[in-house]
Symmetry: C2
DNA sequence: CTGAAAGCGCTTACAG
DNA sequence: CTGAAAGCGCTTACAG
């Protein structure tokens, strides 16, 4: 339908030059009240909107922020994306979202596309397997992006090397695991099963580290640690819990479960019930992430809140304010434990457990 | 850092004209093997990527699909967004995501921005209050978008009028409500409370209509319908359930609850437990949406699955294949009921309830 | 305060 | 198969 109306059409109808139209619209240069009125009138009459591509080519216009992640439906990813989008919008930027499905080839292709789009920053989200291949890949992204005046932002994943010019926004994953494990230990639990440990994955490794450190801090021998399952999420959590229960014939030695994430924890609660074990009466359970599900189930899950949306916001805030491309910048946001109803003090444990409102 | 490398640089290094470089890269025109090799070599050496804006201006390049929704973290929205993104990616399109926060002014501003970006389609997602203002607004969007060769797609919200040139992708919301209510009726329930009715909101109205129709079909007098609460979600669901229970002093006349959505249903289960009522033994509960939470809680929630991701996919598939701008096109996707463990047959009810696997 | 003109980096008829 | 040139729709020094 109808040919697109251009700045030339507006200029003609307003009886001024295209330069004047451009200036009136940009508002960054003096223009007479008369021209302004005529131009605005013409813009309205013709329902003109500028061509963003032409604007960008000429070196002006709205920039865009790109966020690349495994998928969009995971609560963590969705929250980070939301934070990115909101902060970007606040700064007049548009947000491009793409999912990589953890395919490095696709990820690379997307980074290239974002270079083509002249994205102001490219935000990569979520835990990874940190190996040499990963480090090299990220270093290369950072370099090419910096060369194009853009910026690589690593969100919830580690910096590949100290000298890579990336902006890193993480949360204190290890500390959160330490805190929630300590909470369990403080409540008197000694045998705590860690569910869904993911070897290699940075997120899983950090949680394991926090768990082990808490055990050590409380004098629990490493031999008493119970690790089982691979991977997070509902299915893995259920499977791992069943395995453990099956192996122990429904009478496990451990009295508490630290699930890799809340969805795994929720599934563990179900598996426990199927074995006739009540939470928290017979088994205490904690999760991680403060996923919406943590507040939706009974009992409410004690878990670790991670500032996902804030990470997204911080990612773009820093990307926009930083000296582009130079050096590495790192931000670690705090986590905090959210106490609900899934932990119960054991014997002489402290009274740390059991607080919190019904829906919180 | 480093000046951006352009097609001219590539041409110079390869010893050919920019036209040849363009042709080699586009691959839509014959080029000699020799030139091709030289160009590809130069592209690699210089790490060249084309400027998407210049490409777009010249009338080529990757297009983009825009999706505008209330927010990104709601499970429904996230799923639709995921569907849009995946289908768009499959067709070589990029996806721009923005949240409107249900602010019409912001929505309008975003539609304008998408016109500027020359988005190939603009997808608006989610239920609305359908009044004249809404209809006019959508009609206008459809018109200006069509004039710009783009397309307005309404996803999960009604067409404003039959002649508005929009693409509408809905799901059979009323039928889903009818089915799940009938499931309850089939299990012998007569007094069924509808929780979280949202007057005015199209999604809420349709669910109410399905509920009432099922009641009528089963000969339950309209006077036996119980409607309470405004709005969906955890907080509203909890509040509404508590209200009803408080009013009945914990001994409600109804034996089943149809919550407006799954998160409200999950909260209702919690409220019921606080009153010592077990689900499904003392009260059957069903939800809507097949939100992840439905499978995460105990008992698993019987609910209505809505094809959110498929809606997103259909939205872009149709937008890309349709004759642009012409007329209205409407697609209604089916819903189906997902039976888990939150419904229990009453007295002489049929044996319809109680099936389904542990985690499903 | 305003206009003519160059230029942003591509693509694509038009000649050859 | 290849190149010179026009053109996409803006913005912004440069004159005035």
């Amino acid at each position: 339908m109808g040919e697109r109306v251009t700045i030339r059409d507006v200029a003609a109808r307003a009886g001024v030059s295209v330069a004047t139209v451009s200036r009136v619209l940009a508002g960054n240069y003096p223009t007479s009240t008369a021209s302004r009125a005529k131009v605005l009138r013409a813009v309205k009459d013709l329902d003109y909107v500028a061509n963003a591509h032409a604007r960008a080519l000429a070196g002006a216009g709205r920039k865009t922020i790109a966020v690349l992640m495994y998928d969009v439906v995971g609560a963590f990813y969705a929250q980070v994306a939301q934070g990115v989008e909101m902060e970007a919008a606040q700064h007049g930027r548009l947000t491009l979202v793409s999912s990589t499905g953890s395919d490095p080839a696709r990820e690379l292709a997307l980074v290239q596309m974002m270079r083509e789009q002249a994205a102001e920053a490219v935000v990569l989200v979520g835990g990874v397997t940190q190996d040499d291949e990963y480090r090299q890949r990220m270093a290369r992204y950072a370099e090419v992006l910096a060369a194009a005046g853009s910026r690589l932002v690593l969100c919830g994943r580690p910096a590949p090397a100290p000298d890579v010019p990336a902006l890193v926004v993480e949360y204190d994953n290890e500390a959160g695991a330490h805190a929630v494990t300590s909470h369990l230990l403080g409540a008197g639990h000694r045998r705590i099963a860690l569910l869904g440990y993911q070897p290699g994955n940075t997120t899983g490794e950090d949680r394991l580290a926090g768990y082990l450190r808490a055990l050590a801090d409380h004098g629990v021998p490493r031999a008493d640690a119970v690790l089982h399952g691979v991977g997070f999420g509902q299915n893995h959590g259920y499977r791992a819990m069943r395995d453990l229960l099956d192996a122990a014939d429904g009478k496990p030695e451990f009295t508490a479960v630290f699930a890799g994430d809340d969805r795994a924890a929720a599934a563990a609660v179900i598996a426990l019930r199927e074995y006739g074990l009540r939470v928290p009466e017979d088994m205490s359970v904690v999760g991680y992430n403060d996923d919406p599900v943590a507040g939706d189930i009974t009992p409410g899950l004690t878990t670790v809140h991670i500032p996902a949306e804030e990470m997204g916001r911080t990612a773009v805030r820093r990307a926009l304010s930083g000296a582009s491309g130079t050096g590495q910048e790192r931000h670690v946001l705090g986590t905090h434990i959210v106490i609900r109803h899934s932990v119960r003090p054991l014997r002489g444990g402290s009274a740390a457990a059991g607080a919190g409102g019904a829906l919180d």
